[in-house]
Symmetry: C2
Subunit: 493 residues, 2 copies
């Protein structure tokens, strides 16, 4: 079988998809019949000069569509299943699913790095979860509330938890009552709901660049475009922000002003005011992702955007995922006026609301003081780990490498000189035994970046120092030689 492959990779479909498309076309044109045997993976890979995994991926896709059947030991055959009737549906579905998966397929594969030093993940260390205290909370509320906690919840979420959160937010200067808070399934659901409330498919959303990768995924799943605004050390670049918000198709701004993901930057007070003024001039809402607001370990607190906002344009997102643990799947959306009702109606139409049991257990945990005790311990731990990271970056990294100095949260952004693409550095580091988050995953179009994110979520001080030393070593090598990534890297990007 000969297939004309476009290998330039510049806007052309991935090679495995070109192969699958070709075979699908042959079946539809009747040139391949039910029962026909396809070339063995090894042979086709050799003929096409591609990796065997690439052919296997193409075959897998066609098996999933019901067009091919794999028979262990005998080979792969054109399916005799009655796909004719559902073929238009299957083709449309395949296109939709490919679009949805494109984003995830572009992510780095960390699989080969088991046993490595994990400086890549922004998932808090399970060793630090207050499991026993949370379990006591679960048992206390089940003992008290019983079956009532196993009913559907009300549309805003557990009133006690909203009351506690309102009190906490007021301590940060946000004038808010419990009725302006809606509990959601992690801040990620809050982001998706706010995007759906303010946009329609085809609209655009202003985002900082780099920004939180999962938001870029959420935009794609909703059929939205990203309008990137470059980051400076003080926050998003204001001229670019003003221009982006001025475009009619841009319907809102998504921003992470405190302990920015991936950069660790805190948007300055002056910048916060300018950002809000620009949003007010454009009359467009702002999603403030405050996912790490409780994780400050240095410097002075700045008011959240929601505390500075006088126009009711800010939708503020809180999360327990980084400050406690992600498995609760509880976040909170604070909004103003009509947006509150809109978000609640969208949530009800999405999943009929959250688990009253988990929300009540969290309320007990927060109300008992256990959450603040946990936050105190966590902040001390984070400060110590961040110091180890910043100290070893300063000691180990070659000249010309720059990095941010966060005042809270888990992550530091590191930028390399000499035209380094951190996609390559990621692969080098993976081989050397340290996992990092390469910058391209935070770019709206996945373009090359000379930055990468290091996170201290899952590593102690000693491992952090070892990891930075290894990373500095591969960076120095790459700066010296410009050596390209070998094909055996075990990395599929």
């Amino acid at each position: 079988m000969q297939i004309d492959l476009d290998r330039r990779g510049n806007g052309s479909p991935p090679v495995y998809r070109q192969i699958a498309d070709h075979i699908r076309g042959e079946i539809e044109a009747g040139r391949l019949d039910a029962g026909d045997r396809l070339p063995p993976i090894r042979a086709l890979a050799r003929d096409l000069r591609v990796n065997r995994d690439t052919v296997a991926l193409a075959y897998d896709e066609l098996v999933a569509e019901g067009r091919l059947e794999a028979s262990v030991g005998r080979g792969t055959f054109v399916s005799a299943a009655p796909v004719a009737a559902s073929a238009p549906h299957a083709a449309a579905l395949a296109t939709r699913v490919e679009a949805l998966l494109e984003f995830e397929r572009a992510r780095p594969r960390y699989g080969a790095g088991a046993g490595s030093i994990p400086l890549h993940a922004l998932v808090p260390d399970p060793a630090l979860y207050p499991v026993a205290a949370f379990r006591r909370s679960v048992n206390r509320v089940l003992g008290r509330g019983g079956a009532q906690l196993l009913l559907y919840g009300d549309r805003q979420g557990h009133a006690g938890l909203r009351e506690l959160l309102a009190r906490r937010f007021r301590a940060h200067g946000i004038e808010v009552g419990p009725d302006e808070i809606t509990l959601c399934h992690g801040a990620s659901q809050g982001i998706a709901l706010a995007l759906r409330l303010f946009t329609e498919p085809g609209d655009a959303v202003a985002v900082e660049e780099p920004t939180y990768g999962n938001v870029l995924g959420a935009l794609r799943a909703l059929g939205l475009e990203a309008a990137p605004v470059a980051m400076t050390e003080a926050g998003p670049e204001l001229g670019a922000l003003e221009r982006a918000l001025g475009r009619p198709e841009v319907k809102l701004l998504y921003t992470i002003p405190t302990f920015h993901n991936p950069m660790g930057i805190t948007t300055s007070l002056a910048h916060r005011r300018e950002l809000l003024a620009a949003a007010a001039r454009a009359g467009k809402p702002v999603i403030e992702d405050a996912y790490e607001m409780d994780l400050r370990f240095a410097g002075r607190e700045l008011p959240p955007l929601a505390a500075l906002d006088t126009n009711g344009l800010v939708v503020h997102l809180y999360s327990f995922s980084k400050s406690l643990f992600p498995g609760a799947r509880v976040g909170a959306i604070t909004a103003r006026g009509r947006a509150v009702e809109g978000l609640q109606a969208l949530r009800a139409a999405s999943d009929l609301g959250g688990s009253p049991l988990v929300q009540a257990a969290l309320a007990d945990f927060v109300g008992s003081g256990a959450y603040d005790r946990h936050l105190g311990r966590l902040r001390r731990r984070l400060r110590s780990r961040a110091e180890a990271l910043l100290d070893s970056l300063a000691r180990e990294m070659p000249e010309g490498v720059r990095f941010t100095t966060p005042e809270g949260g888990y992550q530091v952004w590191v930028e390399f000189p000499g035209g380094i693409d951190t996609r390559d550095l990621f692969a080098d580091a993976l081989r050397a035994g340290v996992l990092v988050a390469p910058g391209y995953v935070f770019q709206h179009d996945g373009r090359a970046s000379n930055g990468l994110r290091l996170a201290v979520a899952q590593t102690d001080e000693a491992a952090i120092r070892r990891g930075v030393a290894l990373l500095a070593h591969v960076a120095r090598e790459r700066l010296a030689t410009g050596r390209p990534v070998s094909a055996s890297a075990g990395v599929q990007l």
Copy 2:
């Protein structure tokens, strides 16, 4: 203030909105200025000959938009807040939120019926929840799994629970492995995800009429139209179904073949086969909502659509909400081929997945046999309650009233003769102390219906008999007199 109101209600906006629109226009035109005092609610209601609540609702909306300010004891004033900048945003948002809320605002208000006999709700009785056994499961899995259950879950959901569900589904004839199952946040999230996977805003979805009200809400929130297919005693009318699926804008069918909501009907085997053949001819997927599949208490089980489907077109939804309790917020989507990946990608982009703790506790509960013991008890209870309901309907209802005879689940559908609109009967029954679900909430366009749903979820046999006697009494009165609902009914529809 004089306002020209369109009271015909036929496609014109609700009266409160006409009032709000008028005042908003006066402010924007500069005829009302910042600081101007609006007429007291009582006075304006009198002038316009509307209910005071209607004026209050209009004022509330404008307060929420920031255009009016209410000052206790002083009255309502045009706001001096700087709304100018965000006004376009606020207006667009108000339109969007109104569209989202329209569906919910049309729902019956049961508030005035506290203390009544609840024959309206399809929410299982908390008195029957196995709280102690579930609590033991939570503690067992937290003791074993600890912090690992508080991390993010994997994208398909807890593997053990999927394995157990696959085994249960295979016992119903569905050839499925755990990898074809994706856990979701209640079947309601599964419905929303499947709708998003197969449609785009502006598309249409074939639904039975009457059908599950929340699905009609989900369609609206996603910008989808309903293409209604009338129900017969054997399932959806096949000619109408074929015509609906033949329309290019109709992208899929949503059906409830077992213990239909609201009708309690089970689609016959012949009808199931015809339905699947029609879907295959059209090449369009079918969402099978099997939310009560484990609640059969009479008759012989029929194979689920997913067991009869040879084209991979069926997406099957399972739920613990009716068979155990809704507060777990766990359901399962069974799909084929590419749809599995698509649903998982959409779920990840919606909320990053469910709570591993709750899923693991459910797996323990199901795996220990506690779920099947609970189901056995629940089915016996449901059979006894259904017998009480059917028996008292046969005894009490006036001639010409017809009702379905379900073989499982919670609900019975009752149809009244003589041109009765059950919206009126609902109001009569509310006054008489019994709550029912009027048929219009299950119609895609909310049109009048002579049917209503009675559910035995939250009432014992004695209360069921009392409730039916009361309902029969008001039905008899209405049949005799045709008396309209008085304005003091406390019901806002």
